[in-house]
Symmetry: C2
């Protein structure tokens, strides 16, 4: 296949605009394009943080563990870093996020959901480039052998030195000018790395050194192994825990490796993303879609990355659930048939141009305008940004803590033509939770070239395409015998030659009676003489009925664990005036348990109506949880189920036996109403399925006096 | 912990009743307990097959591939044995099986669903016994190095020889007596292995040899490595493909191995079952359940087994989705609170006693009676058998092709106290699709002992338990100084000593003024002298308020892929009189697509109402598929969507523009009705959610004349 303009664009190494603008460019090692960046969009957007959320993270973490949302895996075996188990609450929350995702994307968009193997033969991931390049740089302590990520090491040590400088200047009473002074704001969440950077020594730095450090930290993701090695040497960076020197950074592939079958000869990796499984099935999927374009495949499943340094709970883990869409589109027409449905939606966009101007406040822009103005590359990308936005709003992410950040030119995978991340703000900073990239034809072309299987679309032209073209045909009787083994490569070369070159050969043949063809990079490199009897070069009228092209791929890729963690932070609340009572204000659609069923007390007469209510809810598809622990007061039981984020509670009390009524309590308002069991069960079903709201219920039912029932004593 | 009676029972090596009864016991190597059996319930129940189903498997396989239910993974890379990708139809079918499973088990039974890590550190799987014993025996061809499962090899070669004998006798015109003749019926589906056993040589065997072979084949799962090695030597078994000798069988662990983290020092395995992740979280789960027993945890997820010889499509694969329940129960009371709800249900049971009598016809028995008579060990096991039955009926497994087979005493995992498999009959024979085992306290005890973390239940007695007991207390002032380092082990030994032994020591001390204690298997083995000043042995009244016990675990374990494959076979149909037209008669609840939406033809006016109908269905949670390919006739489009098993089809035609009506077609009957779009959309929702039936719809709406619409031309 000749290199098309579109393909060349995907391979283009984009000039680093940010670096080019920096006045410091000559003073520090110039960052090369990072290795991992080329193949991964999985980056914590830490350095984009501009302020911290006011959340009591210790209280949240403790509640997460206490109510078993998640916990480190194998904790009775002292746990394994980067592996987490979801408990009943977390697993249900995750499952609900996935169900809504399926409804929102797969069903409503009629995507072809597939479920492919996790274990992947090395050949596939060699072709996709992961074996060579899906890696981070790693250093070893030269004495104790402990291992660290090279970029994290440099980052931590330089940050510690900057902090030491602040300390030294404070102690010396030097005022800190905004121009030359050290900037803790350059890395506002630097404090979480403090421990790793070693003890802070109060050592004043030269102003020029401070500038260097600041520049390096802002660019830390861009250094390759040699770049990091140079920094380590230049600044004598050592393992802060031991003071020992470290080895030069070596590449550490982030895929878990295994071996398939009993012979041990077939190397396999656990997939680092679900995308490749979809790409290798492209032809079957196109066939399944009756050859119609555009269309999308989708997959929800586990992926694996053997992180050198997992951290921050669910935010950088070794095993995670992701949901990915691969939308296949004609590279010459990236319009989306349903774009008009979303064009009016306003999104908080942070385009690369705005970032390059040093700003970090998103701009509210209608997605229709963003595509029209070229801020977002095409309709399909824009359509998905809007759909991602609607999904995140539907699950309960806070609007004001969400932004869509465009990748900087130097930040994109080399094959990507445009890429936007949905970033959600948490107490850890802005977290990349959904990536939405235009992967161009990169993957399909790679797999097709390697396997020699066509992964392309054949479309009939509405009218046959007639072109007039200079073509070269060989005279097999002379051509073959003269060129022997080189005949085939030379013929292929001639067939692919641009028209101008062919014209040159044509005129050479008629002028000199011969022409020379030079092959290189083939199995038959060399110079070959062509004579007029061997070829016919002439203008032909060619009628094409079918157009063949490799689709481009627009890929929205969701990190379910990161969305889940962000949602926990955004839903975490404490009762006004009683900070001990925390609760999660999950929407009913995502809440792990929809309805709590409980008796007023341990009185024996409550058991039967209680089980009856629970059974009716469950049979109606409403996950209900009974809390009949007689030892806990009703208030305490309400409180501990508020901690699970259960939105509704039905209470059986003494009146139930008399008149068959029960009470219904809502979590956020703690208000209660009373009605017949039948009516309350139906109401809960409607509330959970979203066909009514609590406000609506309150407008039709009088409040019950609950002055004492929410008392925890 | 002292070895309790219950625990001892779990460890008991059950005497092999079948072997003991065989008159051939002295003539062939006695099978030892197989290795894999101890840890795996994943066995194809091939040798239980008594007849084949009449199904055109080639037609089924071709439809499965054509409509992308599943296909071998990475097929453009020539595929990997034992790995499969589910396409849009298969993935949706699988997802629906899982959704129904969640509704049926997790929600209706209020189970605690968790989602744990696949990557598991070696330590955990060493403790559970998998590292040592989750293995098959493997032979290598001594010349070409090809690898085969030892039991499969022996099986294939002996079967080929038996077939050769039949051939020889036929050629010799010898009549085959039922007593001494070779029995193809001993292995009715032997033919599928024919190729593997090598070419059939017409060689007559001695009658005694035939008996030996038959006996060995019936017992093939029971041979260990040495047993298989002996068979290979004795019968000169070679690789049938090459005629070369094979190596002695070596153990091949079936877990995929990897390494966690950058240091390479932490070995990990991909989990072979989801159970261990649940067990190690037992304490958190009990806490989450407010300490109440009994309760169950559950998990749906991927597991991995690096099979030596994957085969038969989805039936023996290397990566599979399973759904497992771990129900924790008091070992002294295995009653189930909801047993009365299922006691009346009749199940097709095949108890071990019936199998030992050589019969294979299940007995229809009410589960209440089966538990009362001791056929099924306890109520909880019986409750789950009934619930499994209801689930399999609900998804569409045919009642007459289902049986519950009890494990034979020699077939159970050594820790299991009772085990039943739900086996589904397919054209491959009876397939174990759900295992339901009482795992006793095995796993929790193992993990607790190794980690020294308590994995047990503490329950207050309703009344304090008062016991009178002989106890031994040490006098620390004398005991320690005298015994020094041995003091602690000797003290522990004395504390755990049964009352009779303690009485003996007491009388020795008073008689001889000393007694000797012998320790073995401790860190301080040896003989130690005890004198009366060192200990006080006397009767005490002990009041216990809390009972501490390790729960037993009842485990229903579902192979989703196997159920899915069985369902494909049970749902596969051809139209009477037109065998080219096949379809899947899936129930709406499991069907991959619920409703097809299509225009009568490619007429432009159909586009808008078509999209309108599709959008309304999808927004209502009904996965709808549009088939508007103008090139295919309406009949052809009905037919190809019947192949997907889509139960309903809404057709937009010329009348739609006039009066807003559309037609609704049902797949199995191919009958159609007509009504307004609003009404039809609502009807489809009701049909899909199960709130009405097609018969009911037909009783209220007149049929539309469809004489031509189901014509494929």
């Amino acid at each position: 296949m000749p290199v098309t303009a579109q393909f060349a664009r995907a391979y283009r190494i984009t000039f680093n605009a940010l670096t080019a603008r920096s006045p410091l460019i000559t003073r520090v090692p110039l960052p090369a394009t990072s290795v991992r960046r080329l193949y991964s969009t999985d980056r914590l957007a830490e350095n984009m943080t501009d302020s911290n959320l006011s959340i009591d993270r210790a209280a949240l973490d403790s509640l997460v563990l206490k109510r078993f949302f998640y916990a480190q895996s194998f904790s009775i075996y002292n746990g394994v870093a980067g592996l987490y188990d979801f408990g009943p609450t977390g697993a249900a929350l995750q499952q609900n996020l996935i169900s809504l995702w399926r409804q929102h994307f797969v069903i409503e968009e009629d995507m072809l959901e597939v479920d492919c193997s996790i274990m992947t033969p090395a050949e596939v991931l060699k072709t996709s480039g992961h074996v060579e390049k899906f890696a981070d740089w790693m250093c070893k302590d030269t004495k104790d052998g402990s291992v660290m990520r090279a970029d994290h090491l440099v980052e931590a040590v330089l940050e510690a030195r900057l902090e030491g400088d602040i300390l030294a200047r404070k102690m010396a009473g030097v005022s800190i000018s905004s121009e030359a002074g050290p900037s803790a704001a350059a890395k506002p969440d630097a404090k979480k790395n403090k421990k790793k950077g070693g003890p802070i020594a109060a050592t004043k730095l030269e102003n020029s050194v401070i500038e260097e450090f600041k520049f390096i930290l802002a660019q830390i993701d861009n250094y390759d192994g040699q770049g990091l090695a140079d920094l380590i040497t230049k600044y004598d960076i050592r393992n802060p825990d031991t003071g020992n020197p470290v080895t030069a950074p070596a590449m550490f592939n982030l895929m878990f490796e295994s071996s398939i079958g009993p012979s041990g000869n077939l190397k396999g990796y656990l997939r680092p993303e679900t995308a490749q499984g979809q790409f290798v099935n492209f032809s079957r999927l196109l066939e399944f879609n009756n050859q119609k374009m555009p269309f999308a495949s989708a997959m929800v499943g586990r992926s694996f990355r053997n992180e050198i340094a997992p951290r921050q709970g669910l935010l950088r883990v070794r095993e995670f659930t992701m949901a990915e869409v691969e939308h296949y589109v004609d590279p010459e027409n990236k319009d989306h048939p349903r774009f008009s449905e979303v064009a009016h939606i306003e999104l908080p966009l942070l385009p690369s141009q705005v970032q390059l101007e040093g700003k970090s406040t998103p701009i509210m822009m209608r997605i229709g305008d963003a595509v029209a103005s070229g801020t977002v590359d095409n309709q399909t990308l824009g359509y998905f940004l809007a759909r991602i936005y609607l999904y995140l709003m539907a699950v309960g992410i806070k609007h004001e803590l969400l932004r869509f950040r465009q990748h900087l030119p130097n930040e994109m995978a080399h094959y990507a033509t445009d890429c936007w991340d949905a970033e959600i703000k948490t107490s850890h900073g802005w977290i990349e939770c959904v990536g939405c990239a235009d992967r161009s034809a990169y993957d399909l072309t790679k797999h097709a070239t390697y396997t020699k299987e066509k992964l392309c679309v054949r479309e009939s032209y509405p009218e046959p395409l007639v072109t007039v073209k200079l073509v070269c045909e060989t005279n097999s009787k002379v051509f073959g015998p003269k060129l022997k083994r080189a005949a085939k490569p030379v013929e292929e070369y001639l067939k692919l030659l641009p028209e101008t070159d062919l014209t040159a050969i044509q005129s050479k043949l008629s002028k000199d009676g011969k022409a020379t063809v030079v092959l290189s990079g083939t199995a038959a490199d060399g110079e070959y003489e062509i004579t007029p009897d061997m070829v016919t070069i002439e203008t032909r009228t060619i009628t094409e009925h079918v157009r063949e092209y490799t689709p481009n791929v627009i890929e929205p890729s969701f990190g379910i664990g990161r969305i889940l963690y962000s949602l926990l932070e955004h839903s975490f609340n404490v009762r006004a005036g009683d900070e001990q009572r925390s609760f999660f204000s999950f929407k009913p659609a995502v809440a792990p348990f929809k309805c709590l069923v409980l008796p007023l007390s341990g009185h024996a007469s409550f058991a039967k109506p209680l089980q009856d209510v629970a059974r009716r809810l469950r049979a109606g598809g409403v996950p209900a949880r009974v809390d009949d622990a007689a030892s806990a007061s009703i208030g305490r039981r309400y409180a501990r189920n508020d901690e699970l984020g259960t939105p509704f509670a039905i209470t059986v009390d003494f009146q139930t036996a008399d008149d068959g009524t029960v009470t219904l309590r809502e979590r956020d308002t703690t208000k209660q109403i009373r009605a017949s069991t039948d009516e309350i069960v139906e109401l809960v079903k409607c509330l959970v399925h979203g066909s009514t709201t609590w406000d609506n219920v309150l407008s039709k039912h009088p409040l019950v006096n609950t002055s004492s029932s929410d008392n925890m004593d």
